[in-house]
Symmetry: none
DNA sequence: ACACACGGGACGGCCCGTTCGT
DNA sequence: ACGAACGGGCCGTCCCGTGTGT
């Protein structure tokens, strides 16, 4: 919200954000207690409420911080870019608390907000944008609608990541997303393109 | 938990379950307050704590009650049964509070429980069971693995339903699940079977 | 607000009211802390918030409880009744915490309420009513206006009681009110009536 | 407390005093927050705590500043001076935040101080001083005691001002004080003097 | 040198899930 | 089955030092 001037302040702010993210990720918004965040960040209430006016604002800031850290990779095939983004995000889910918390907060929304489609829309638009690019370059099968397909992908991704969290503590998210692509791509990509697409993480 | 003998008691118990489900569905486990459940069920604290020992037990009972109410339809094609179950569940999501609450509680878990794969496992096993049947009858393409496919389907279903809730208040869940099947079935069903499968709701 | 059913509950409620009154009287509304009220009443937070939904409601209830305990004495002269009421109230100020707190809360208002003339109006109307009676019976000098005189009396009473509190811890309130009447009555009462009025407390 | 030499410092100090007074006047001592004072004065915490060591000291300084700004007018009749002072103060109550805040802080005392008769005593002594002058010049009726009469006047004034605040936001304070004098003077002033006294504000 | 951004914690009120006596 | 009471925990605010950068 505010832009801290001093150096120590910036570090403190980031420290809080990380601690908050880790608690939000584990407990969800409602069950997360300010007290635990303070404990993990090893700071005091005064420090927290200097940087963030409320628990809700803190949650929003977590989401915001994550969004700013996201970048889309570039490939010669738009479809390859899309696949790569999803795999990268899936991989990050294992270590990046900010991302994990953001997703939990987004999915759980309605507990700290009336409702807000915005966070989902961000992902959906990113996806449909890439799909439109792909479509323009003839990478897609003719009947594929970029918008509805984007929503399908985002929905599936969300659910698979959730399932992976419960079943294996997200250890196999990447594999699950790869499986998703393996099932979806044949119905999406143009035949010539399909062969050139890589869905392994090494790339 | 217990099996109440008296008739009035059973009705009261069910009343509480419905009220609790509606609150859990709207607010989530943590934000749901006993007080509001009491209000909606129009009962007193004493009554509630006679039937359920704690809020947590109440949540578990909601999930349990829903599971008991679930039945799988019978079709000549096992795959058709599977498709039909998912569409039916999707449809129920619009009206059945017990189901809605169950899903919310399952998805949000970690806020009122260390973690528990059981609720997901129920759905997954139902799915993989039907897939194994289909496999035995030659309805599937040869390379399809019933177990991992079941998890893929359940994951995608969960996520799509979540997305539908945020974007359209679950008004288009059914359509989204239909889209999912339209994308997945060609990679799952044997060619001859694919033509005979119906994914419209009227059936 | 609510009407407690059980006997113990009524006692508890009254206990709380007294404790609250004593703290409000000493510290004022804002400086009064719930914790201190709990301590004095020797009850727990739960008990208090069962009977009163908030600190503000508690304050209102204190005022209300006092109002219900007030009664106007009967005399052959309306003016004598008025004098007597004021003296009685003044006397009660030394022991009756409910009354003391009520006055402090009324005077301080604006700290726990936008503003509300109602508490003052109660006293003013009681006074002007008696003055109108007196007027109808010819006890007043012709030029005396019951309404404005009532407000004058209530205002002076309020201030004198306040002053007495600061200077002598309310030990001489009664005397100060007697002095007030000694100064005011000659300008209010008809000559014949004036002689028959007693302003000593013994009556 | 301190006497700042620099000019800018003096203005800042006064600015703070005014802002503090306005907040104290509206909210009372306890409900007044340093933060709001800072906001209204458009200064920072550092500046405030440079001029005043604490919130309590600030309150005392407000009272003190007001006292220093008070002057008594001169008339040929001491009684007329007294009347005039009270009317002037009443009039100032409508605009002078310093005065308003002082009175609120004085009346509410006990919330930020054990208790202190001093502020009242200042007014009382001013009054009794003028009454003694009047007595020496034979302006008073023989039985009038300057001390107790002074306390009566101050008490009534305080209460009437309070009442006026609640009922009409102090719009009719002056009139109420005029009414007070109209009722009290016949019992205080010597007959010859009474006729020469003016209680209208124009003088 | 010095204003002030930053951090420190103690309470503030109150809501919560729960248990007891009847 | 119920009204009454329990007490821990919640988030937020408050007044105020202390370190920090200009």
């Amino acid at each position: 919200m505010t832009a801290p001037k001093q150096d120590r302040a910036r570090r403190t702010r980031h420290l809080i954000l990380l601690a908050a993210a880790s608690v939000f990720d584990e407990k969800g918004y409602q069950a997360a207690s300010i007290a635990e965040i303070l404990e993990r960040a090893e700071i005091t209430k005064g420090a927290l409420y200097f940087h963030f006016p409320s628990k809700e604002a803190l949650a929003h800031s977590v989401i915001q911080a994550q969004r700013e850290a996201m970048t889309a990779p570039q490939h010669d095939l738009a479809l390859q870019s899309l696949v790569q983004v999803t795999l990268k995000v899936a991989q990050q889910l294992k270590d990046d608390v900010l991302l994990r918390a953001s997703i939990r907060l987004t999915v759980e929304q309605g507990s700290f907000q009336p409702i807000d489609a915005a966070p989902y829309m961000g992902w959906i638009e990113l996806t449909s944008g890439l799909l439109r690019d792909a479509s323009a370059r003839g990478e897609l099968l003719p009947h594929v609608d970029p918008d509805s397909t984007a929503e399908l992908i985002i929905g599936c991704f969300t659910g698979l990541q959730l399932l992976s969290q419960v079943l294996t503590e997200r250890n196999d998210v990447v594999k699950r997303i790869q499986d998703l692509w393996a099932s979806l791509l044949p119905g999406i990509a143009a035949p010539g393109v399909l062969m050139r697409l890589r869905i392994d993480i090494s790339q």
